[in-house]
């Protein structure tokens, strides 16, 4: 418990740093938000008024602090384009991304674990070779290609699935596979090598010498140990998962966080962009925290150290 609290507190400097970074970056890139908002033919007076209203006339430091203060109150500012509070917009989009991410993770873990285990127990025999070749395709084909291919063949040609997402579970299947594809490949490969290594351990001999069946040895003794590096790897990959979500959501028109981010970039909608990046950062950090927690549940040696 204390450990979790400590980790949560350690998020604060990271978040502040990220906030500062985004803030500065968005001020450096060309394009004045006021003129974007107004278009070209407005009087200087209007421009000044708007600049004042948007706090853009204040010194940068002050702008930053009022932004941080707002964030602490759950206020991420108002979207320039949609004219609505960014917090509302994000919270509305979030469930779509959650649905996509959960389904993608489910796909990745189920497929990755199954193929990884089968490959490990049939080491160097045909099933192993087939799965490892497939998983190589899994990790090396870029996500937009997977997404477009799935969409073209399974949705457009065969019409098994809808072309774009309408929020239904069925329409989320292709996006989930596209997003989970890379991870499934990495999980499979990592599970295989980790399990093969664990199966060489002395305690596996002990388990076998007890008279346990092969299945009991693998699932009861080896798998838990083999999962540890896989979990660490997945935690590290969480941020690339998030960027994968941006692509997937664009391809399948899912109104999630990733779509918000692309829209915000296109429209120079700074408050929205700031908000989505900040939100994503929080998710990634929380995801890592969850991985640590899972790791501790699986490995008693870590648990007691804290």
């Amino acid at each position: 418990m204390k450990r979790v609290l400590k980790r949560l507190l350690s998020m604060i400097p990271v978040l502040l740093g990220v906030m500062l970074l985004i803030f500065i970056m968005l001020r450096i890139i060309p394009g004045d938000p006021v003129s974007i908002l107004l278009g070209e033919h407005y009087s200087q007076d209007t421009i000044d008024r708007l600049t004042k209203a948007m706090n853009l006339d204040k010194p940068l430091m002050q702008q930053f602090f009022s932004y941080v203060l707002g964030v602490l109150h759950g206020d991420l500012g108002v979207s320039y384009i949609m004219k609505r509070p960014v917090t509302d917009i994000i919270l509305q989009a979030f469930p779509h991304t959650v649905k996509l991410a959960v389904m993608a993770a489910l796909f990745a873990w189920v497929i990755g674990l199954l193929t990884g285990i089968v490959a490990a127990v049939t080491q160097n025999r045909p099933p192993d070779r087939i799965f490892m070749t497939l998983s190589l395709a899994g990790v090396s084909v870029p996500i937009f290609m997977v997404a477009l291919a799935l969409q073209y063949f399974l949705a457009f040609k065969v019409k098994l699935f809808p072309l774009t997402s309408d929020g239904s579970l069925k329409s989320m299947i292709l996006p989930a596979i596209a997003l989970g594809w890379n991870s499934a490949g990495s999980i499979a490969r990592m599970t295989r090598s980790s399990l093969i290594e664990v199966m060489q351990s002395d305690y596996i001999d002990t388990a076998r010498a007890k008279g346990l069946r092969r299945g009991a040895v693998i699932f009861g003794h080896a798998l838990k140990n083999a999962m540890l590096p896989v979990i660490t790897m997945m935690a590290l990959q969480l941020s690339s998962m998030m960027s994968g979500a941006v692509i997937t959501e664009s391809v399948f028109s899912i109104p999630g966080i990733g779509r918000l981010a692309t829209d915000a970039v296109q429209n120079r909608d700074m408050p929205l962009l700031q908000g989505t990046i900040l939100f994503t950062t929080v998710i990634v950090i929380l995801g890592n925290l969850l991985a640590d927690f899972l790791y501790a549940v699986l490995d008693p040696r870590i648990r007691r150290e804290a």
Binding site: D202, Y203, T206, A209, K210, G211, P300, R301
Partner: protein
């Protein structure tokens, strides 16, 4: 097969089929374990002691396997026995403890559960509560204090000595007829070693269980074994009762081994070591595997493999010397 023998190994060959060639780790081993006796198996690192033990327990891993020979346990032939049948014996009628108590327990499972598993898998208890009671009894029996508390410990929370006791508890919990102990005390300090050996000796006396004790510590052998097999490069080179072997070692290798034992109060200025190194098992010649390091090697030793011949009562040695000497 004689009634009072628990295990009889005849001409066992176990090899590793590696990319660089066939490693003959066990190259024609004969070994007999009578009931209620402690049998020592000694030899340098890499001579195939563990592989002999693992062959018996069916623990050889790809690319290793038993090539030929016979392993009779009680009235069953283990070579070629279906996996399912072998599993019924392992951990039940015969069990094994390993060298490293640190790594031979699963780090992510509670030790109590690991011992309990042996009971449940062989149907010695119906319910978990019943099994747990057996585990706690066993813990007490092998001298683990505060068993209830230790039951839910993880291996890293126990000392090396306690971990090895847990291993012994696990191996003994189904009351096996044969215990194979592969260097059970090598990783422990001397006081703990003495305690663990005493414990095994006690088990042997009380329950009539037999022990195959693998070690490279001849002191341990002298202390608790009844009979010794000396192994070299995959073969038994000498066997005999402890007294015979220590008083009248016949094979040059055994003599070297005994000679290289430190003697307390002895007047040696330096510790003797057998010259040379263990031969590469991939490139064994036709002759005696020890000839490259043997002071008394003759031409014949390089070309021919000597047979295991009787050199005394219940005492055998694999060397041409005895023919010329005797």
């Amino acid at each position: 097969m004689s009634k009072e023998n628990v295990l009889e190994i005849r001409d066992l060959h176990s090899s590793f089929f590696t990319d660089s060639g066939v490693v003959r780790a066990v190259n024609g081993v004969d070994l007999v374990i009578p009931q209620g006796k402690i049998i020592g198996l000694v030899g340098e690192s890499g001579c195939g002691k563990s592989m002999t033990a693992k062959s018996v327990m069916g623990l050889l891993r790809y690319p290793g396997r038993i090539e030929s020979g016979s392993i009779r346990f009680m009235d069953k032939e283990l070579v070629g026995l279906p996996d399912k049948e072998l599993r019924k014996l392992c951990g039940n009628e015969m069990s094994m403890i390993f060298q490293e108590p640190m790594t031979s327990l699963n780090p992510v499972l509670r030790v109590g559960r690991q011992v309990e598993e042996a009971i449940l898998v062989h149907g010695k208890a119906e319910k978990r509560a019943e099994a747990k009671k057996l585990v706690l009894d066993m813990f007490e029996h092998v001298g683990i204090p505060e068993g209830e508390k230790r039951y839910s410990c993880y291996p890293h929370e126990l000392s090396g000595g306690l971990r090895q006791r847990v291993m012994i508890a696990m191996a003994m919990v189904c009351r096996p007829r044969l215990l194979i102990a592969d260097e059970p005390t090598t990783a422990l300090d001397v006081t703990i070693e003495a305690q663990i050996l005493q414990l095994m000796q006690k088990e042997c006396r009380e329950s009539g269980m037999s022990i195959l004790l693998i070690t490279h510590n001849l002191g341990v052998v002298a202390e608790i074994c009844d009979f010794v097999y000396v192994m070299y490069a995959g073969r038994i080179v000498e066997s005999g009762s402890v007294c015979e072997i220590f008083d009248h070692p016949a094979h040059p290798y055994t003599r070297g081994l005994l000679h290289s034992m430190p003697v307390i109060g002895g007047d040696q200025e330096y510790l003797y070591a057998i010259p040379g190194a263990v031969p590469n098992l991939l490139r064994l010649g036709a002759g005696c595997a020890f000839c490259g390091r043997c002071e008394k090697a003759q031409d014949r030793c390089r070309e021919e493999m000597p047979e295991l011949k009787a050199v005394g009562e219940d005492h055998f040695s694999r060397c041409f010397l005895h023919e010329t000497e005797g």
